[in-house]
């Protein structure tokens, strides 16, 4: 009775660029900033929340879509499916153990720290008629929260213009009343929240690993 011969396992060293793996998948992996963290999404060609086929040898399986929530910003994550759950790890070799399907690599957005801008309110006869941006800040990915602090009430800031991570201008909102000299603005927030568009794939191929070419992500 002939016995099968083990062909051995592929070592992690074989994960150098352009290696031909006998597996691939058709997942997209991206990240979306949500408040002070991010969510990684794994999905198929029809968009988020749709599944995708993964191929090992001649066997094709349909793997679950997923959302990984509360991922630290400014990190690179390599995602794999271990047969039960997704795992987000730091490097590709960590996803090459037997039974795990490497899914894709994604850079989690954030771009480093946020330096909040400083804003001085323009007060005339107790009303806040405008806002002077005295320091534009840096790294902003969303509107800042502006609180007018002083003796008056009712003043709110209006539309903000943010470009290149900097606060360009703040329009006045409700002017309020009763403010006096020494009125200041407290600034907080400044990070992008909700909605798509905060993340990007790296390594090409929509963030997925692919066989038989030199662009393995």
């Amino acid at each position: 009775m002939p016995k099968p011969i083990s062909a051995g396992r592929q070592s992690s060293a074989a994960s150098e660029a352009a290696i031909v793996l006998n597996q691939t998948n058709y997942a997209s992996v991206d990240s979306v900033a949500v408040g002070s963290a991010a969510a990684i999404r794994i999905f198929g060609k029809a968009g988020p929340n749709t599944q995708y086929p993964a191929v090992k040898g001649e066997i094709e399986t349909i793997l679950p879509s997923a959302t990984i929530i509360n991922v630290p910003l400014s990190t690179t994550q390599v995602v794999g499916f271990d047969g039960t759950n997704y795992q987000a790890r730091g490097t590709l070799p960590e996803q090459l153990m037997d039974g795990t399907t490497p899914t894709g690599t994604v850079s989690v957005v954030g771009g480093g720290s946020v330096t909040l801008p400083t804003i001085t309110p323009y007060e005339v006869y107790g009303a806040i008629l405008g806002y002077n941006v005295t320091d534009q800040g840096n790294g902003l990915t969303g509107d800042v929260t502006i609180a007018v602090v002083g003796s008056g009430t009712g003043a709110t800031a209006g539309t903000q213009v943010i470009s290149g991570g900097k606060l360009i201008s703040v329009a006045p909102g409700n002017v309020g009343s009763g403010y006096g000299p020494g009125t200041t603005c407290d600034v907080s927030g400044g990070t992008f929240s909700g909605a798509t568009g905060g993340g990007q794939n790296i390594g090409g191929n929509g963030g997925r690993f692919i066989t038989n070419d030199g662009t393995t992500g």
Binding site: I62, S74, N85
Partner: protein, 122 residues
């Protein structure tokens, strides 16, 4: 609801070693699957990367995350069913499909199971 959390502790649990909350959702009609994984903690300084202790996870609400995902998945499911009913094509089912809605029919073709949705009258 066609989409639901899979029954059993192995489908909605926190791994105490990795600090990950795993939630497995599935579609009872089509067998679709979607996973939610909440990373509990692992904060670090955004300036230097040095990790620090996590003392409060109050900002994370797993029920809200699950409900939001179920709402989206359910809406997508309804759209697929309407599309199928309108155009008359069957739906290939995954192995987790357990419910055949009233008036629907499942047929077997080799290893594949197909759900036939009642055609909308024109």
């Amino acid at each position: 609801m066609s989409w639901a959390v899979r029954q059993g502790h192995e489908h909605n649990y926190i791994d105490g070693r990795t600090h990950v909350h795993h939630v497995h959702l599935f579609n009872q009609v089509t067998g679709g699957e979607h996973h939610i994984q909440l990373l509990l903690g692992a904060p670090s300084c955004r300036e230097c990367g040095r990790p620090f202790a996590q003392s409060d996870l109050g900002g994370l609400d797993p029920a809200a995350e699950i409900n939001a995902a179920l709402e989206t998945l359910q809406a997508n499911h309804a759209a697929i069913m309407s599309y199928t009913a309108k155009h008359g094509h069957p739906i290939k089912l995954g192995p987790l499909a357990t419910i055949v809605p009233a008036g629907h029919k499942v047929t077997t073709h080799g290893a594949a199971k197909m759900l036939h949705v009642p055609r909308l009258s024109k």
